[in-house]
């Protein structure tokens, strides 16, 4: 037993000592989102960057899915800022919109976009503002994601095209529609946001601002929330984004809101029946980009910018973002389409056409309305 003790002590000591210095530079990338985000760097982007920059090693850390993952990135940078660390241990971060606004207002990011060559390839409004907070110069979109309603075509012969039709269908088929509320993940949150766009007062103001506290107290708002509470009586609640896909897969529900890219990856990885389809219901459902950001005191800022430039180049966006991972490109579509064959491009739009995307693909409400909707939902005890 004594020797076992000594051995474990030695092993631990060796490990402590072995946080040894690497002869090469390490680029640290922290990415929120699912495992496929980490895979993207480990399997595709990382090796490519390393080949172009010998002596550099790319190290990816996944911080977890959804806003929770982005929150963790924020907390790391915030902790280092408050500790007055001279250099921070994250060089590139990939985060969601909500936290990006906070990162910019708290001055945790570098204004780098103008210094990279791919900067002019993005003209979308979401590169200028994140949920209403101006972020121009601090971000480059990595990809765009969209939510839609996934359905089982064997059970649902005529999928609803609007929220109204959906409400009708759910009334006739109780418990066959499932979503994860607002605490389970962003697909549920986006369904609720889409609901407010459909039934709440002044959808345009919700999406673009400015924020007026009166709107939250208005009758239209309360009505919409009340309708949602009614609607919730006939739904099945699912445990998370994965939960919705799970239950859809097992035939426990026939329809549910999902992230389009998550939908496609589950199909590719054999966890979802290939026959499932998508429908983007009107007047619209939100989607959001994920951003590449460079922390203000990143240890390897120049390398970080090179990395982002590579990641947002048309070739990589075509091969990596669209072809391998079924995401909508972050830079303008026209730059990417030229690098892909027609078949691959079309695959992106099998269930949701570019026109539908253009008219019904919305962004999330601006920050204060976003929070207000969540809080009203909570207060109403709208059942989840």
């Amino acid at each position: 037993m004594k020797s076992a003790f000594a051995l474990s002590g030695l092993l631990a000591a060796a490990l402590v000592a072995s946080t040894a210095v690497n002869a090469q530079t390490t680029l640290n990338v922290a990415t929120a989102g699912d495992q496929n985000m980490v895979d993207y760097i480990n399997e595709y982007l990382g090796p490519m960057f390393e080949k172009q920059n010998p002596g550099v090693k790319v190290r990816a850390v996944g911080t977890g899915a959804g806003d929770a993952g982005s929150q963790k990135v924020f907390e790391r940078l915030d902790a280092q800022a408050k500790a007055n660390a001279p250099q921070w241990d994250v060089d590139v971060a990939v985060v969601h919109q909500k936290i990006t606004g906070k990162l910019v207002t708290d001055k945790l990011l570098a204004n780098y976009r103008s210094t990279i060559e791919t900067a002019p390839l993005v003209t979308n409004a979401n590169a200028k503002a994140a949920l209403g907070t101006p972020v121009e110069g601090y971000v480059m979109p990595m990809f765009n994601s969209q939510t839609a309603i996934a359905y089982n075509p064997d059970i649902v012969k005529n999928p609803p095209a609007t929220y109204d039709e959906l409400v009708e269908w759910v009334k006739k088929n109780p418990k066959q529609f499932g979503y994860n509320g607002i605490k389970g993940g962003m697909s549920g949150v986006s369904f609720v946001m889409g609901w407010m766009y459909a039934y709440g007062p002044d959808a345009k103001k919700l999406e673009n601002g400015p924020f007026e506290a009166d709107l939250v107290k208005s009758a239209g708002w309360t009505d919409a929330m009340g309708k949602l509470k009614e609607f919730n009586k006939n739904v099945t609640f699912t445990p998370g984004n994965a939960g919705t896909l799970d239950m859809l897969n097992r035939g426990e529900i026939a329809m549910g809101p999902v992230w389009v890219d998550m939908f496609y990856s589950w199909k590719t990885e054999g966890r979802l029946n290939p026959s499932m389809k998508l429908k983007l219901v009107g007047p619209g459902m939100p989607g959001q980009p994920m951003y590449y950001v460079v922390p203000a005191k990143a240890a390897n800022a120049d390398l970080a910018k090179k990395f982002v430039a590579l990641a947002t180049s048309p070739a990589v966006q075509a091969e990596g973002v669209v072809k391998r991972f079924n995401w909508y490109p972050g830079i303008d579509a026209k730059h990417v389409q030229a690098n892909l064959d027609a078949a691959t491009w079309q695959k992106l739009f099998t269930d949701v056409t570019p026109e539908e995307l253009a008219t019904k693909g919305r962004s999330f409400p601006v920050g204060p309305y976003f929070d207000a909707i969540l809080e009203s939902y909570e207060r109403q005890g709208a059942s989840n």
């Binding site: 959804g66 806003d67 929770a68 929150q71 924020f74 906070k102 994860n180 509320g181 607002i182 605490k183 389970g184 099945t236 609640f237 699912t238 445990p239 998370g240 939960g243 799970d246 239950m247 097992r250 035939g251 426990e252 929070d371 969540l374 809080e375 909570e378 207060r379 005890g381 059942s383 989840n384």
Partner: protein, 277 residues
């Protein structure tokens, strides 16, 4: 060196480690719970209670229920290991019951997510065995799933302590009761359990405290509202960036668990005192 000083200096390294690396950072959380942008206030606590009163009750009820069930299962397992008369059955039980101990909570949540679903393995097996029709299957992915997962994961820990305590009992009282014709169930309940009460309560206290702080299991299994305190803390931080209310919820949680632990320790020292009187 006087015994008191020696005692304190021996405990000091462990205490200091906890104090510096947890209690001190925890202080910031407490400050955050009791202050808003305008200084000290109880607003966060008020908001926490106002929005999450049902959830707090829910958490206490399901963790309490889980603890009670764990107690019963541990007594049953320990009892059979001590009083069981078929050596092969005892050996099988000994082999079986420890396995969930090695499964981390997040893995347990993962396992149960597919096991307890409407068309999950549990229901599929029941249907294949002809005990249920597909239409009758129910999904256990709600508060029942949380309780099942907690009981599944924590019972081996408490059973280990309880079985150990039972095995070290003086068998003469058990033997004489058997000779008088008492059933084994009665022996278990009236003779064995009172003597291992101390081990049982410490295992249950530690389990209660651990379960109150688990985040992964409720997130992965419970889709419904109400949900647990920890899930709400995570939601508060991730959706609103609201550390004040999240920390206030944490304060409520530690008051609950601290209260339970304090009751246990007082009871334990009272028992000790009684033994010497």
């Amino acid at each position: 060196m006087p015994s008191r000083a020696l005692g304190l200096s021996l405990v000091a390294p462990a205490l200091l480690t906890v104090a510096i690396f947890f209690i001190y950072p925890l202080g910031y959380s407490f400050v955050s719970a009791f202050s808003t942008s305008s200084g000290w206030s109880l607003a966060n606590l008020q908001k926490a209670v106002e929005l999450y009163r049902d959830d707090i009750l829910f958490t206490v009820v399901i963790v309490g229920l889980s603890t009670a069930l764990i107690g019963l299962c541990s007594i049953a397992i320990g009892g059979y290991l001590t009083l069981g008369e078929n050596p092969r059955a005892v050996a099988v039980l000994k082999f079986l019951y420890r396995w969930p101990l090695f499964i981390p909570f997040i893995v347990a949540g993962q396992l149960m997510r597919t096991f307890l679903a409407k068309n999950g393995m549990l229901n599929n097996t029941l249907v294949s065995a002809g005990l249920l029709t597909p239409a009758e299957t129910i999904s256990l992915l709600d508060w029942r799933g949380i309780v099942i997962t907690f009981v599944w994961k924590q019972t081996p820990f408490v059973a280990l302590l309880v079985a150990g305590a039972m095995a070290s009992l003086d068998r003469s009282t058990i033997e004489s009761a058997r000779n008088l014709g008492a059933s084994r169930l009665r022996i278990l309940w009236e003779i064995v359990v009172p003597q291992v009460r101390a081990s049982l309560t410490v295992g249950l206290t530690l389990s209660f405290v651990t379960m109150m702080s688990v985040l992964s299991v409720p997130l992965m299994i419970n889709a419904q509202s109400p949900t647990t305190i920890t899930a709400n803390m995570a939601f508060r931080i991730n959706a609103y960036g609201d550390y004040g209310v999240a920390n206030a919820l944490g304060v409520i949680s530690i008051l609950l668990t601290g209260g339970v632990a304090w009751l246990y320790l007082r009871q334990a020292s009272r028992d000790k005192g009684r033994a010497f009187s």
